[in-house]
């Protein structure tokens, strides 16, 4: 099973990020989430979702989903694409484990109010 993200359904509400944070910290916090609503381009209304997986980074942009090897976003950003500041700490976070030890999991799927995240 894997996580699938439909960035066009996403409204940037960050519920997934908080749900993942709860899985990591047993409380509400955002620092350890492996799924993040990127929102640094607020004035451009350009937002989507980043998911850190074991081997790569899933980047759900409005125009489509992209998969990058870990480190690629920092070291070799795709031509013409500006780096996203929120991508940097992702490299320091634990990868998605699909909330394997939780009865409710994956928490990001359960708590997305817009069903933008699903099982693939």
């Amino acid at each position: 099973m894997a996580i699938k993200i439909d960035a066009l359904k996403c409204t940037g509400c960050m519920a997934c990020e908080m749900a993942c944070g709860y899985h990591r910290d047993d409380g509400f916090a955002l620092l350890s989430s492996c799924i993040v609503a990127y929102r640094t381009k607020e004035k451009k209304d350009y937002f989507g979702v980043l998911l850190k997986r074991e081997e790569d980074l899933l980047i759900a942009r409005p125009e489509g989903t992209e998969i990058k090897r870990i480190g690629e976003t920092e070291e070799t950003p795709a031509a013409g694409k500006q780096q996203d500041a929120s991508a940097k700490p992702m490299l320091l976070r634990e990868a998605c484990d699909l909330c394997e030890e939780m009865d409710l999991g994956p928490m990001c799927i359960k708590f997305c109010p817009f069903d933008a995240i699903s099982e693939d």
């Binding site: 066009l8 409204t11 940037g12 509400c13 960050m14 519920a15 908080m18 749900a19 709860y22 910290d25 047993d26 409380g27 509400f28 916090a29 955002l30 620092l31 929102r39 640094t40 381009k41 607020e42 004035k43 451009k44 209304d45 350009y46 937002f47 942009r61 409005p62 125009e63 694409k81 500006q82 500041a85 929120s86 409710l104 359960k110 708590f111 109010p113 817009f114």
Partner: protein
């Protein structure tokens, strides 16, 4: 207060530059619960300093559906009443994790200042470099200075600095629910605004039970009447302004939601690029996020095109002026063009309609939206005031509160008790609501 709390009330005296913090006591939470009720209590406690109180609801920033809202409580310079303005978008969330539950700001700074609040630290900093700058420039300046584009701001523009009765505090770049002239309160204190960033942790007394209850409510909410609707246009339709949607549609880019809110109450319109474009815009400021239902409706009634209305809403937000009031006064005085209206910001005065009793912001429609509320029929005004009071105590997005009957007082009391180990009864809530409404 051990759970769902940073256990800190920040008290800032701008006159003396003294910053202190108090604990948030279990007794106060047990009596007033949170949000606007605690903020009003703190307002009264510090009334001699003409305070502005900023706070979060008991559930703000949690996984309970629509737990997005914070609150600004102050005496409105236009009504003379202690009033409350919801804090939306991601600003309430950021306050919750910045290390303080409530912030009391009293006194007047001798020089322009702003508060930089981050990870349990509060600094009074000089705003000399941004005094005179508009809302957008100020947020950009602070984000750049702190090196963090995720900093959330509450900020005034020229209208607040000039202490206009129509001055509105803005959130980051966008309009807020401040229909009370709180921007004038900020200006009178020489307070340009606040910047928030935090990486805090909220603990719960029974985390597992809390999360399961939140999920149960979310699943019910997702079955609600509003699920097929989105954006500000559908809200306009629900309140009888059905021609807004088609008028706005050509420039709608995307809809976005406030933190963990199951309805996208905000609509971004592109004014300088193709709205259907999905890739990152080339223009650094291609449009505007519409968060103000009645400002939008008002500008349409004047006869502006959707693009003109979007540009005027953007101009209002940069200037930090209440767009709904601008629309009402412009209509009354026969101003019809974008240039004419924008040119009148500095001199615009007059009485403005503010439905309700002057306690909760009429920025939120005063009727049920989409959903059917069994108790809304007999006395719609009383129903709305109570719904606003309850939402403001727990930190629920006010628009979701009038949209989702699935979010009940019983749900809120139960999850609050599970989260905090404080026994909240219906009597506790009734007392807190009555305290707000008296």
């Amino acid at each position: 207060m051990e759970y769902l709390s940073a256990n800190k009330i920040l008290v800032v005296d701008l006159a003396s530059a003294e910053v202190t913090d108090d604990e948030l006591s279990d007794e106060l939470v047990g009596e007033k619960i949170g949000g606007a009720a605690v903020a009003k209590h703190l307002y009264e406690q510090h009334a001699d300093g003409d305070p502005i109180v900023i706070g979060t609801g008991l559930l703000t920033g949690t996984l309970f559906p629509a737990a997005a809202a914070g609150v600004i409580t102050a005496k409105s310079p236009v009504t003379g009443k202690i009033s409350h303005c919801p804090i939306t978008l991601k600003v309430g969330l950021e306050i919750q994790y910045s290390g303080f539950d409530y912030i009391v700001i009293k006194g007047k700074s001798p020089e322009p200042a702003f508060l930089w609040i981050h990870d349990g630290v509060a600094d009074i900093s000089s705003a000399a470099d941004v005094w005179g700058k508009n809302v957008w420039e100020t947020t950009d300046t602070w984000r750049k200075a702190m090196g963090d584009d995720l900093i959330q701001t509450i900020v005034i523009g020229k209208a607040g600095e000039d202490q206009s009765d129509l001055a509105q505090v803005c959130y980051n770049y966008w309009a807020s629910g401040d229909r009370w002239g709180f921007g004038k309160n900020f200006g009178a204190k020489n307070l340009k605004g606040l910047a928030f960033r935090g990486m805090g942790l909220l603990e719960m007394a029974d985390a597992e039970e809390f999360v399961e209850l939140a999920l149960d409510v979310l699943e019910e909410v997702k079955e609600g009447e509003f699920v097929s609707k989105k954006g500000i246009g559908d809200i306009c339709t629900a309140i009888g302004e059905s021609d807004i949607n088609a008028w706005l549609a050509p420039i709608v880019h995307r809809h976005s939601a406030c933190y963990n809110t199951p309805y996208a109450t905000n609509t971004f319109v592109f004014l300088d690029e193709d709205a259907k474009k999905l890739t990152e815009p080339e223009h650094p400021e291609p449009g505007f996020l519409i968060t103000d239902i009645f400002g939008l409706i008002g500008f349409k009634k004047i006869g502006l095109s959707a693009v003109e209305a979007g540009n005027l809403l953007k101009a209002c937000a940069k200037y930090g002026i209440d767009a709904a009031a601008v629309a009402e006064l412009s209509l009354a005085t026969g101003k019809k063009t974008l240039a004419e209206i924008q040119g009148s910001f500095a001199t615009l005065v007059g009485a403005v309609t503010r439905p309700g009793s002057g306690i909760f912001s009429p920025w939120c429609p005063n009727q049920p939206l989409f959903g059917k509320f069994d108790d809304a029929g007999d006395d719609p005004t009383a129903w709305w005031e109570r719904r606003m009071a309850v939402a403001s105590i727990f930190g629920i997005h006010p628009i979701l509160a009038v949209m989702s009957p699935e979010i009940t007082e019983d749900d809120l009391l139960e999850i609050a008790t599970v989260g905090t180990e404080v026994e909240f009864s219906q009597d506790t809530l009734d007392n807190a609501v009555n305290y707000l409404l008296k």
